[in-house]
């Protein structure tokens, strides 16, 4: 596997020149007035001290990488399912959005496989039943009943917060903990947590 690096620098120079030439006329491919802009989805969000996008991204990243590293050496990719992450704060935090990100990153890293979780179960069984019981499908090639795989591990956790306030400071502390349990033996094989502190000055 020998990849060759090709240099595009001459092309780049030409493109830059073209940009310079056309600089006077605005040719940005946009519609509408300039009151709306797209931002950087990865930028650090410091609008309020409530749970925000940066917190979600940091938590998902830390957890996914910790998990991936711990199981990278495994002979077979562990088959896991994501149970619930309990929200123990009084904020409206969509923990499923966090676990979705963790799952995406783990799948992309190629270290884990995921079994259908409870939320997806209805769609899964409906489809299976439709293929097998409706009598509409060819036997050959349709998904068979009784072949679904059960997960070896279950991932679950919780998020808690401590909020303190005085006249000029608000301090928010979040702790997200996640653990992975071997379903057969009931042992907890992996756990990690991420702490976040945010302070707002009035």
């Amino acid at each position: 596997m020998n990849t060759r690096k090709t240099s595009f620098s001459s092309l780049g120079a030409a493109a830059a020149a073209a940009l310079l030439l056309s600089a006077c006329a605005t040719v940005s491919p946009t519609v509408g007035s300039g009151n709306v802009t797209y931002g950087d989805a990865k930028a650090v969000e410091q609008v309020t001290n409530q749970f925000g996008s940066t917190d979600l991204q940091m938590i998902a990243e830390t957890m996914a990488r910790s998990l991936a590293q711990s199981y990278a050496g495994a002979q077979t990719k562990p088959l896991v399912t994501i149970a619930d992450v309990k929200n123990k704060t009084s904020e409206f935090i969509d923990t499923r959005s966090i676990t979705d990100s963790i799952r995406t990153q783990l799948l992309k890293s190629g270290t884990f496989r995921f079994a259908t979780d409870i939320d997806g179960m209805k769609n899964q069984t409906d489809e299976l039943a439709r293929q097998n019981q409706s009598g509409l499908y060819k036997k050959q090639g349709s998904a068979k009943m009784g072949k679904m795989q059960g997960a070896q591990y279950r991932i679950e956790g919780n998020i808690t917060s401590i909020v303190k306030r005085n006249a000029d400071l608000t301090d928010v502390y979040y702790k997200f903990s996640l653990m992975m349990t071997d379903i057969e033996s009931g042992t907890i094989d992996w756990a990690d947590e991420k702490e976040i502190r945010k302070t707002t000055r009035r």
């Binding site: 596997m1 990849t3 690096k5 950087d40 990865k42 930028a43 650090v44 996008s53 940066t54 991204q57 940091m58 990243e61 996914a64 990488r65 910790s66 991936a68 590293q69 990278a72 050496g73 990153q105 992309k108 890293s109 190629g110 000055r201």
Partner: protein, 135 residues
């Protein structure tokens, strides 16, 4: 496609690192500063492979007596310089006054063989006053 050059402990202080691949690499060659970093330096950088994943440790040093903020993220590349993972989220970090702090970074995928750390510590007072260029 394991790269033996990286499996042994590689790289160290400001001098040479990653002997092997593309000749001597320095810490500076692995960093992309966004603007001038004030009061914050990367004092050390170590990379090693763990279970097929690249693992980094970056040591940050605050040369000021006040706490300072740093924003950082990593671009993960393969041997040929292609980026193998999405843009990471920027991560804020607080460095206490005069402190040295290690940041442990794990690669998201075994495909990552090389990296660039993006660092921003330009206007890094705890509660910055003016218009900030922070990500």
């Amino acid at each position: 496609m394991k790269r033996p050059a990286l499996t042994g402990a590689a790289l160290l202080l400001a001098g040479a690192l990653f002997a092997g691949s593309a000749g001597a690499q320095t810490i500076a060659s692995k960093l992309e500063h966004m603007g001038e970093s004030s009061h914050v330096q990367v004092a050390g950088l170590i990379a090693r492979e763990r279970n097929g994943f690249l693992a980094l440790q970056m040591e940050l040093k605050n040369t000021d007596n006040e706490p300072r903020r740093v924003f950082w993220r990593v671009k993960w590349l393969d041997d040929t310089g292609f980026q193998v993972w999405d843009e990471e989220a920027w991560k804020p970090l607080l460095l206490q006054g005069s402190a040295r702090q290690n940041v442990q970074i794990a690669a998201p995928t075994p495909k990552a063989r090389d990296f660039r750390i993006q660092l921003n510590a330009e206007d890094n007072a705890l509660f910055p006053s003016g218009n900030t260029q922070n990500p």
